[in-house]
């Protein structure tokens, strides 16, 4: 099994959108090494002829009638928002620097 480097963990944290301190990265890299070593065991029995299971009790084609039903009011939907304005979620800037 390939070892997981500190740089890889830093990249995973970036992908997962979690800021991490150097100390957190150091600690987590060590733990990942140990945990991955343990869980890699699944490869021992996962041969090509075994189909994967994603869901324990398969239910297929779950559809509902295309009908209008009551939903949350804008006030309720925004009630937990960190910031809102004009019946909308207010978020920090998402595109390049404002010039």
């Amino acid at each position: 099994m390939s070892a997981i480097s500190r740089e890889e963990v830093a990249n995973l944290a970036r992908l997962a959108r979690i800021e991490m301190s150097d100390a957190e990265l150091d600690h987590l890299s060590g733990e990942m090494q140990v945990i991955l070593g343990a869980v890699a065991r699944v490869q021992e029995v996962a041969s090509a002829d075994v189909p994967p299971t994603s869901h324990p009790i398969p239910v297929n084609n779950v559809v509902r009638e295309d009908a209008v039903i009551p939903s949350l009011s804008p006030t309720d939907a925004l009630s937990g928002a960190p910031a809102s304005s004009e019946q909308r979620f207010k978020v920090p800037q998402i595109l390049g620097e404002a010039e």
Binding site: M20, V39, V50, P51, H55, P56, V62, G80
Partner: protein, 499 residues
């Protein structure tokens, strides 16, 4: 009416108008007031909401209305299910102060059943853990020994039952979070068949494994609560459209003559505490006395269940917890006008998530990343197939399977918190059930000789045959009760101030 009574007894007293729902709720609040500073089972009490519900039940009863069986009986709700207007944190700083704008289907059903929701119970953050130590709001303490863990992730719900703070509780079980807390607190907990109880409004951790279920102090109470919350829900696309088995009748039957009970060879031996194995074997002997037939079954792929679980659950969690992005609900950190959305998101998730949650998100992100997907997540899904096949083969030979619920009794708070792998081993006997989507129950089967702490007995039933767990559980509970002469919780030390 004593708070140590069963929910069924309380329901009967309410029906006979020997006590009102308001009085009963207040008795439980008095107990919470007296003991919860030591136990810390609750994160939030909704006294106003609970007493309003109790009052409305009392009025309906006074008016001669026919009420559901558990109307007026109090309950503790795990803080992972949303309840409109009542703080719901999932044990995380991320949701501090959040009040959901809607009710989970389980909550709607509880309200419709006239059940009085006292408050929200403590849990490992986002249900990730086996000790409730991962709660951002501090650990819950086991009423049997306050220096020990009450299990997890639903340690708050189990401790509330064992401390007589509520006769009923709701838990959720992704890898054992209902059953292992039940085991270490000498209470009863059931993980129903996957899809048997709606997941709508259950904050998702691992969607293909998560299952809400009933917790109580007796098998019958658990069955009555099961009946109240189970059933098809069009709001949950994984809900199964199948009649709920008559679990209440099964719990009352107390007859296991001729039933074939399989002991899973792989769920014993190395790693299992001696006293746990002894009490488990004693309980099996009781079942034999009751006329059950014991068969030994082999489930060779169970050996890989823990590894598969710790790939599947983190993978699904890394995707599910992406919703905590600080944009629509929950806390937001660092939004001072100078930072972009992504930076704010990164900072919020750094502060909002605890260590175990971050560990699992990173592990899941790795297992799902290109280049590693087949080796990790893909292989884990194949193991899941093999485990289902093991169960299918075992259920060819027997009606239910049994094992100890957890390999050890409650350990000390802090003992395993620095060693994730040691902590994960707590779930070794409960995880196969979640991977296969079948039913699992834990009920108390005695106190281990070496430490006098509770041992859990696990019963596993095929999918949609949840009644079989109650059949065996009800019979075993009655046999053990007559052997002990009093309920197992009467052997627990009395909590300071307890009513």
């Amino acid at each position: 009416m004593s708070i140590r009574s069963s929910a069924a007894e309380m329901a009967e007293a309410l029906t006979k108008k020997e006590i009102s729902a308001v009085e009963l709720a207040n008795q439980h609040y008095a107990q919470i007031e007296a003991v919860d500073k030591d136990v810390h089972a609750f994160l939030h009490l909704d006294k106003a909401g609970a007493l309003a519900q109790a009052e409305s039940i009392d009025k309906k009863r006074a008016a001669g209305e026919k009420l559901p069986p558990l109307a007026g009986v109090p309950l503790a709700l795990k803080d992972v299910l949303v309840q409109k207007g009542v703080p719901t944190t999932c044990g995380s700083k991320m949701l501090e102060g959040w009040r959901p704008p809607y009710d989970a289907t389980v909550v709607t059903k509880l309200k419709d059943a006239g059940i009085v929701i006292l408050g929200k119970t403590n849990m490992d953050e986002f249900a990730m853990g086996s000790s409730t130590e991962n709660s951002a709001y501090g650990p819950t303490h086991n009423p049997w020994d306050l220096t020990r863990i009450p299990g997890g992730s639903g340690g708050g719900s189990a401790a509330a039952l064992a401390a007589f703070e509520a006769p009923l509780a709701i838990g959720t079980d992704t890898g054992g979070s209902i059953r292992q807390p039940a085991a270490v607190t000498a209470t009863v907990g059931v993980k129903p068949t996957y899809g048997g109880v709606s997941r709508y409004g259950l904050v998702a951790f691992s969607s293909s494994l998560d299952q809400a279920g009933p917790c109580a102090r007796t098998v019958l109470d658990t069955a009555m609560l099961h009946q109240s919350i189970a059933g098809f829900d069009p709001k949950d696309s994984t809900s199964i459209n199948h009649a709920v088995p008559d679990v209440v009748a099964a719990a009352k039957k107390k007859d296991v003559k001729g039933l074939k009970i399989g002991i899973v060879k792989q769920l014993s031996g190395a790693g299992y505490q001696k006293g746990v194995e002894n009490k488990f074997n004693d309980a099996v002997a009781e079942l034999v006395k009751l006329g059950a037939e014991i068969v030994e079954v082999s489930c060779p792929n169970f050996e890989y269940a823990l590894a598969a679980y710790y790939l599947i659950a983190p993978s699904e969690c890394s995707s599910n917890l992406a919703r905590f992005d600080s944009m629509r609900f929950g806390i937001r950190i660092g939004d001072d006008g100078s930072k972009g959305a992504e930076e704010v998101m990164n900072l919020t998730r750094q502060v909002g998530f605890g260590r175990e949650v971050k560990r699992r998100i990173i592990l899941g992100t790795y297992a799902l990343s290109s280049g590693y997907y087949d080796a990790y997540y893909g292989s884990a899904q194949k193991v899941r197939t093999l485990i289902k096949r093991d169960f299918d083969a075992a259920f060819e030979k027997c009606d239910v399977l049994v094992s100890p619920t957890a390999p050890t009794t409650a350990f000390k708070i802090g003992e395993k918190s620095e060693d994730p792998l040691a902590m994960y081993l707590n779930d070794i006997a409960t995880i196969p059930v979640n991977l296969a989507g079948i039913g699992g129950m834990s009920l108390p089967c005695g106190l281990a000789d070496e430490d006098n702490l509770p041992v859990g007995f696990q019963i596993m039933s095929p999918a949609m045959k949840d009644d079989r767990m109650y059949l065996v559980g009800g019979a075993l509970e009655a046999a053990l009760l007559s052997k002990w002469g009093k309920p197992i919780l009467d052997f627990a030390p009395r909590l300071a101030g307890s009513k």
